[in-house]
Symmetry: C2
Subunit: 294 residues, 2 copies
């Protein structure tokens, strides 16, 4: 398909964030130093990167009970529940901590708030590993924000680091209204800078493109949120993991196409998606990130 | 006018709150002990009570420059700006502090927050004496919430003690959205309990009556808010200071009449209003507060 004047905007903030880049590097380094390197659950929410890690000897276990004695465990970017960390320590395995430093910071905030007598509300998805770990640092005094006890007086609030900022603020409002007798509400904005920037760019992009391709793991929370943001702006957004999922019909009659990606999407996949979209539409890539091969 | 089945509901939370009762008592006590007792501005926002105080020798000055040497100054329930307090101390006059303890608590919170490096947002009316005093405790680092600098990172928030709770929460939401890069937002709910209870009762009353009489000083912030709350609930509310303002036409065809009053409205005025409404409508007083003469 060849068409005149088709423009493909690629987000400058697409792809690996600091925490993911760091975790992947730590895992590769560990696999070079030691045999039997494991993660409990995938290191990051991107199956293609996880496959590559597995090819390099980093195996994914589904529970810590499976970790063999003497092995090395890389704690994944989302962190690990405190109890699991304690169990790992008791097992006497080598622990390499690849928790994102921003997630770590949020864990410390939860822990400190509870020590100071606050009940803590965590704004995020109850089933997400980052949130499960965050809650565990409350040692029974942290709750998914919807479950914060009504009569709470001193309330701390933190967010999953990849939350949509406006959703976080809305949740804080709901907490205030639900616990209106509170004496103090201490809100820590733990949405990480790179998430906020990526989401803002996505929003701006959604205002100018006719269709948006969002590249990232299907179970990646931050990728799903980019789709949500675009949809909220009234732009059709497609969530794909790999270029093969692209469908030429999505681009029919479209002159402005956007491409962005989640924090755990590697450059090579983004580049491949851009290439495929170029081929499918005959479009020209405008501004945004510089591709590795350009 | 005599009509069957007219019911007059009198709010149980109407009238003097703890802070006002205390301030009036302190002023009367001071006037018994000392000559030349002054307040700078009215002690409370109720002209009838202030007249009574004046009859007992407690005079209202419009500025602290007018305070004669050797006099006694009663600091009013709303508090006093820090600079004015310092000037009074320098003048060597006797200072009797009748600041409401809940207002005092809010002042201390502002002061502590600023010492800990927070910029403080005060939710309230810029021109209200309580708010002016609260701001002064920030020593340049406290702002009316609408003026909080956009780039603020550590933000404290307090409320005028008589604020409508839902307006306070809405203001907190606006602060979050206006300073979305904040790292910490520490909200102290300084809306006093008695304000919250009175407002809640007013809201519940507005849901069942056909007309509401709100008794209190025309410049009383908390009284004006009761009128606002009733109006927001779609009930016609009349703000009066004294029974003479009542108009029989307000009650035409009405079977359910509500009466409430602000925190600075004395019992004798509320009782007189209830009596007059009974006479005008032939209504029977139901539940609510027990009148002194019943």
């Amino acid at each position: 398909m060849e068409r005149d004047g088709v423009v493909i905007c690629v987000a400058s903030k697409a792809g690996f964030c600091f925490g993911v880049k760091r975790a992947v590097q730590i895992a590769f380094d560990a696999s070079e130093k030691w045999k039997e390197v494991y993660t409990i659950g995938p290191l990051i929410h991107n199956p293609q990167v996880v496959s590559l890690l597995e090819e390099n000897g980093i195996r994914v276990l589904s529970s810590l009970e499976e970790v063999p004695h003497g092995a090395t465990v890389v704690i994944r970017s989302h962190g690990i529940p405190l109890d699991d960390l304690r169990k790992l320590r008791d097992k006497g395995v080598r622990i390499i901590d690849a928790t994102c430093p921003f997630v770590k910071k949020a864990q410390e905030i939860v822990s400190n708030l509870v020590k100071k007598g606050y009940l803590v509300a965590v704004v995020g998805e109850a089933e997400h590993p980052e949130v499960k770990a965050l809650l565990s640092y409350g040692e029974g005094k942290a709750f998914i924000y919807k479950d914060i006890p009504e009569g709470a007086k001193k309330i701390g609030v933190v967010s999953q680091t990849t939350q949509i900022l406006s959703d976080f603020f809305d949740a804080v409002s709901r907490i205030m209204k639900g616990c209106e007798d509170f004496t103090e509400l201490r809100v820590f904005n733990t949405v990480c800078q790179s998430t906020a920037e990526r989401q803002l760019e996505c929003k701006n992009m959604a205002a100018k493109v006719e269709v948006l391709i969002v590249v990232g793991g299907k179970n990646s929370a931050n990728t799903k949120r980019l789709v949500e943001i675009a949809s909220d702006c009234g732009v059709k957004a497609y969530h794909i993991e790999v270029p093969d999922e692209l469908d030429v019909s999505w681009f029919f009659d479209k002159k402005m196409i956007g491409i962005t990606a989640g924090a755990s999407t590697p450059d090579w996949i983004i580049d491949a998606v851009v290439d495929r979209v170029k081929k499918l539409t005959g479009g020209i890539v405008q501004d945004g990130r510089v591709q590795r091969d350009e």
